[in-house]
Each structure stands twice: as structure tokens, then as C-alpha cells.
Amino acid sequence: MSDNTHTVRQLLAEVCALDPTSIKPDAPLIDYGLDSARAIDLIVGLEGAFAIRIPDEAAAKMKTLKDIVAYVEGRISP
């Protein structure tokens, strides 16, 4: 597992109050209780952790952990 995947998983677990190991890469985020109110916590956390800004348009397309990691790695890669 990449460091980025580890960090995103930890953040998602923290926001959703879950065991990080229970978060599966391909499972829908909505299954973890992520709603629009919690999503802003995740977005703020990701923006801080990776020093990026995540537009709502991009956030709306993130449906799984794997989607988030792919977006983050696309933004931070040189």
C-alpha cells in the first residue's frame, strides 16, 4: 500500500469514525456513512494533508477510496 493510500484511508476512517482496516479500496464511500456534511471534513483534511485544493466538481466524482487516491496522486505528482 502506498503512503498516499495509507494517509487517505486514515483520513477517511477518522472522518467516518471507523477502523481504517475496514475501508476497502473499491467500496462506495456512501457505505461508510460519508454524507455532504462529513465530506467537507474529508476535503479540508485532504487539502491540508496534500497541500492541494479539491474542487467540488472533482469531489463529486470521487466514489471510492481508490478514486480519491487516484485524484490526489494526479495532483501531487511532479
Partner: protein, 597 residues
């Protein structure tokens, strides 16, 4: 009663005991410097209070008073020049204004709220232009609500359709503060149709935020007649195909929902300051009245039933101010990372302020119900704050989720903090010192700084603070009991979603956080341990009464929630509360004596 006589009464009651609890607890001397100091002094002048009363009675927007404040440098607090635009300053302004008039306070408050999107996502050019308008006296409004959809933003119907020069906006916003009078209309509109069957998460990219000026096609709607804050401009606007240049879009297209969410994370903390100001005004009037009115040969403050109301009112005022000050300082230090504390402040300050004002209403009896007498305004205005920036019901849902986060944090490691505002995973006292000692900073910088929105784990923090004050040890016990009960409920799935238990647990967490803030800001030993200068002396017994009241609320709720799940919790709670029941009885007698004259 003549207006002149009513003014004399108000002057007599207020002038004797002007109460400034927010500034008393705040470790920064914000109100001693211009422009806040001058604004506070102005709003305590009898002629200005009379002017505000007149506008409220006539339901007139408080133009004259705003003009006075403008001449004293109000715009400096609202624009990022000279370092005066800070969350601490804006919250202090809310508290100061609310002491004078709820109508004035929410008028100023919405202006600060509506400017926040510029800080969160505006370009340098947009901020410069908006600030220039504010310096010239322009006020802003934030237009989110539509009459049918309330706070359910993903259903909003106002649309912004792209066209060659920008966007054409059509729709109707209502129940908006400042919709007829304010000139900068910061408006959330749909720039994409909602996908059929799409979730709320997927809908977040459907909206954009626009800065709209008054002009052709901007049609003001009638003002609402409101029970509280009757001079405030609560009204609506219809947009009849208004053309807005693309340069007036705040943030990227599709980013409006997130900008608004970030705005509300911050602004709701300042609602607590409005509640604090109104509560302090209630204290001022109640003390003045109880000491002035003679019955059976002595001031009524000496009568036990009256003294009981005074004791509870003063104790609640202290609690409301503490939570509000902490939320402001947390936003100052952590920006969006203060989201948990702003939700607590929004819920708890408004709820406790309502309780406090009710104590005063009972004290005043019939004199609280006369429109010509001043307490009637307090009783009306306090009802308003709970509905701003996400209703109290929305806050409770969020607080129950935070409680789940605290339970999970007991078991699973947390990601290291990234904010730099405080090493939350290091020494717990250092993390809180970072909040309490952070110098006032630009709100623009605060909301743009990296952050992490999550509650501080209470048990390790309170264990560390317990080395300095026994009150923290009691709160640590209360936190452990509440989290034990919540953990058991989670393990056994005992509390269905959307149940009464989740609401009561959320309320208990809010009161616990309030009690923590109270100890941090009002207990001299805790204050010193967190690096703050001493606060001015409080009424003797006030801290103990306030603390015991909050602690007993938390323990009472935890006992009721825990009894079916963890029967042993009842005995544990009795052990914790016993000494504080004794302390509260002693302190109530002291405080009643202190408030008598």
C-alpha cells in the same frame, strides 16, 4: 407609559451593572483598541440605545446607528487592512452589538458572514473591490435560503445559466438577512441540473457562488415581520434573468457548495457571540432591576426566589461567554479545523442563552412582557440565534457524529496533525495552549491555512489539565462516562440513527465541551496552565455554580442514557457528582450574596 419614562427605566437598570462577560473572559484585549473600544463605548451611550429602541419599535433598519459606527471605523473590522479583520474581533463585535440590540447585531453579523466567501475563495481583485465597497459603507448579504428548501442546499432552484458574457441568474431567495438593504448580494445558484437519482455527495458540484449587485432584474421582496430583531431587514430577492459577469463568480464554477460549507463552518461560531451579548444584556438589566426595585422594605435581590433567578442567570452568562470565546479563539488559531467547536458554540450558546433569558423573564415577571420595558426585547431577540447558519437541529446531528469520532479515536490511531496551529497529537496542554495564546490573525489567513476538522480527544487532555485544577478531573470522569456509554451503544447498535438517544448524547457532548471551555477560561489555575493572563475577578461563587450546572447536565444525561446499557454507570456518576453538588450548594449561597448589591 411615556417613551421618556421607559428610557429612564432602561437607563437606570442598565447603567448600574453593565455586564461585559465576553471581553472579561477573552485573553486578548480586543476591545481596548480602536475601533472596537470606540464602538463598544458608543453603543453603551443612552442616546444610542434610545435610537436603537426607536428603530426597533418602528421596525426601521438601524441606519443611523450604523452610520455612527461607520464613523468610528467599523469598516476596519470587516476589511483586511490594518490587521483588524480577525475572528476574535468579529465575534467581539457580535457580542458588543447584541448587548445593545439584536437587530443591530444580526445586521452587522450577516455582513461579516457574507464577506467570508471572499476570504475562503475570492481572488485578490475580488477582495480588493469588495473591501473598497465595504469601506464606502456597503454591506453584504449571503443568499442561500429558498422558501421551500430551507437549509437543504442541494435542492436549491435558483439557476445561473451560462451565456456569452457570464451568467444569467433567475430564481427567488427568501428569509434573507439584509436582502432589501444590503448591496453586495452573495448568492448560491445552480449551474448544473441535478443528476436523476444522484446522491447529495454527487450533487455538490452543481452549484456556484456569485457576487450580484443591485440593478435591473434584482427585485426586492417584502420584509417579513419578525418577533425578534424587528428592525432587521429579513426579506427576499427575486432575480429576473440578471446578467452577472464571469468575473463576479466567487471560486470556480461548481465550487459554490464547498465554499458555502467552509463559510458556515466558521460563521456559526460567531453566532455564539450574539447569544453571549444578549445574555449579558439580560444580566445587566436583571441586576439593575433587582437592586433598584424595593418590595417589603428591601431590594428584591434580597428575596430568595429572585436571588435564585439571578444566580442561574449569571452562571449561564459565564458559560455562554466561555464557549463563544473559545470558538472564536479556535477559529483564529485553527481556521476550518475549529469546525467541531463552532458547532458546539452554535448549539450550546444559543440553548444556554435561551435558558438564561428565561431565568431573567421569570425574575421580571410581568415587566418582561411589556413592550415599553427593555427586557421584552431580550426575551424576543434570544429566540433568533438558534436558527442562523444551520439550525440547532443540524448542529445536533453533527455533534452526534463527533461523539462517534471521539469513541473511535479511543481505539484507532489518528493521522498526525498538519495544521501547524497546534501539535494535537503531542502534549495535550500544548495543543490547547496554541489555541489560547495564538495572537489575533487575519481571518483571511486563518480560513486559508491547512487544517484538520476534528474534536480534541477529551480524556487525555482533561487528565493533563487535572494536574492544575480538580474541575478538570471531574470533567475527565464525565467524559469517560459519556464515551463509555456511547461506545457501548455503538457496540450493541442500541441507538438507531435519528433517535432521541442520539440527540440527547449530542446535547451531553455539547454541554461537556462548554464546561471544558468554562474551566479553561474562568478557572484561574487552568487559565494560567494554558498560558493566559488572569481574567478580571468574577462574582464570588459564579464559576462554581456555572461549572456544577454544566457538569450536572452532562452527568444527568449520561446516567439516563447509560442506565439501560451499563447499569454500573449510575453508581460511578453518583461518585463524581457528589462533591460538586455540595460545592454548588455552597457557591450558590455565596453568589446570591455577591449579587445582592
Amino acid at each position: 407609559m411615556s417613551e421618556r419614562r421607559a428610557r429612564e427605566i432602561e437607563r437606570t437598570w442598565s447603567a448600574r451593572c453593565e455586564t461585559r462577560t465576553w471581553e472579561t473572559l477573552c485573553p486578548h484585549e480586543v476591545t481596548r483598541s480602536a475601533p472596537l473600544g470606540a464602538i463598544a463605548a458608543c453603543l453603551e451611550q443612552p442616546e444610542v440605545r434610545a435610537e436603537l429602541r426607536h428603530d426597533e419599535d418602528a421596525a426601521d433598519y438601524p441606519k443611523r446607528t450604523i452610520a455612527r459606527l461607520a464613523s468610528l471605523g467599523l469598516a476596519e473590522l470587516l476589511t483586511d487592512e490594518g490587521g483588524a479583520l480577525t475572528m476574535i474581533g468579529l465575534s467581539a463585535l457580535n457580542a458588543i452589538a447584541a448587548r445593545a440590540s439584536g437587530s443591530l447585531a444580526i445586521t452587522l453579523g450577516v455582513n461579516a458572514l457574507a464577506m467570508l466567501p471572499f476570504y475562503v475563495a475570492g481572488t485578490d481583485e475580488q477582495r480588493a473591490e469588495a473591501f473598497a465597497r465595504v469601506r464606502r459603507g456597503g454591506f453584504a448579504s449571503l443568499l442561500l435560503t429558498e422558501i421551500v428548501h430551507g437549509s437543504n442546499l442541494v435542492e436549491l432552484e435558483t439557476v445561473a445559466e451560462p451565456e456569452s458574457s457570464g451568467y444569467r441568474i433567475s430564481g427567488e431567495k427568501d428569509m434573507i438577512n439584509g436582502a432589501r438593504e444590503h448591496e453586495l448580494l452573495i448568492t448560491l445558484a445552480r449551474t448544473r441540473a441535478r443528476a436523476p437519482g444522484g446522491s447529495a455527495l454527487e450533487a455538490r458540484g452543481d452549484f456556484s457562488l456569485f457576487w450580484i449587485d443591485r440593478g435591473p432584474g434584482v427585485v426586492p421582496l417584502p420584509r417579513w415581520t419578525t418577533l425578534p430583531a424587528p428592525a432587521a431587514d429579513i426579506s427576499g430577492v427575486r432575480f429576473d434573468g440578471v446578467v452577472v459577469p464571469a468575473a463576479r463568480r466567487i471560486g470556480d464554477e461548481g465550487d459554490g457548495f464547498g465554499i458555502v460549507q467552509k463559510t458556515l463552518l466558521v460563521s456559526r461560531g460567531a453566532i455564539g457571540a450574539l447569544a453571549s451579548g444578549t445574555t449579558s444584556a439580560a444580566v445587566s438589566l436583571a441586576l439593575g432591576y433587582a437592586r433598584e426595585r424595593v418590595l417589603y422594605g428591601a431590594p428584591i435581590s434580597a428575596l430568595a426566589p429572585v436571588a435564585e433567578h439571578l444566580v442561574d442567570l449569571v452562571a449561564l452568562d459565564l458559560a455562554v461567554a466561555a464557549m463563544s470565546v473559545k470558538a472564536a479563539l479556535a477559529v483564529n488559531a485553527e481556521g476550518l479545523g475549529a469546525a467541531h467547536l463552532t458547532a458546539v458554540a452554535k448549539f450550546a450558546c444559543c440553548r444556554l442563552a435561551e435558558d438564561a433569558v428565561t431565568e431573567g423573564r421569570r425574575l421580571f415577571a410581568s415587566r418582561a412582557l411589556m413592550r415599553e420595558l427593555p427586557y421584552e426585547r431580550i426575551a424576543r431577540d434570544v429566540l433568533l440565534y438558534g436558527v442562523f447558519d444551520g439550525t440547532s437541529h443540524v448542529m445536533l446531528a453533527q455533534l452526534h457524529w463527533r461523539l462517534q469520532q471521539l469513541v473511535a479515536a479511543r481505539t484507532y490511531p489518528r493521522v498526525s496533525d498538519v495544521s501547524g496551529a497546534g501539535a494535537r497529537d503531542g502534549d495535550p496542554l500544548d495543543a490547547m495552549r496554541a489555541i489560547y495564546t495564538h495572537a489575533p490573525r487575519s481571518l483571511v489567513a486563518a480560513v486559508r491555512a491547512p487544517s484538520r476538522a476534528r474534536p480534541t480527544p477529551l480524556e487525555p487532555y482533561l487528565a493533563a489539565l487535572a494536574a492544575h485544577t480538580p474541575r478538570a478531573a471531574a470533567l475527565g470522569d464525565a467524559a469517560r462516562a459519556l464515551l463509555d456509554v456511547a461506545a457501548e451503544a455503538r457496540r450493541t447498535n442500541a441507538w438507531p440513527a435519528n433517535s432521541g438517544e442520539t440527540v440527547r448524547a449530542a446535547e451531553a457532548l455539547a454541554m461537556l465541551e462548554c464546561a471544558v471551555a468554562l474551566v479553561e477560561l474562568a478557572d484561574p489555575d487552568a487559565r494560567a496552565a494554558l498560558g493566559m493572563p488572569p481574567a478580571p475577578p468574577l462574582h464570588e461563587g459564579a464559576l462554581s455554580v456555572s461549572f456544577a450546572g454544566l457538569l450536572l447536565r452532562v452527568l444527568g444525561a449520561t446516567r439516563a442514557l447509560g442506565a439501560p446499557l451499563l447499569p454500573g454507570i449510575v453508581g460511578q456518576i453518583a461518585t463524581v457528582e457528589g462533591p460538586w453538588l455540595v460545592e454548588a450548594a455552597r457557591a450558590r449561597a455565596l453568589l446570591a450574596t455577591a449579587l445582592r448589591s
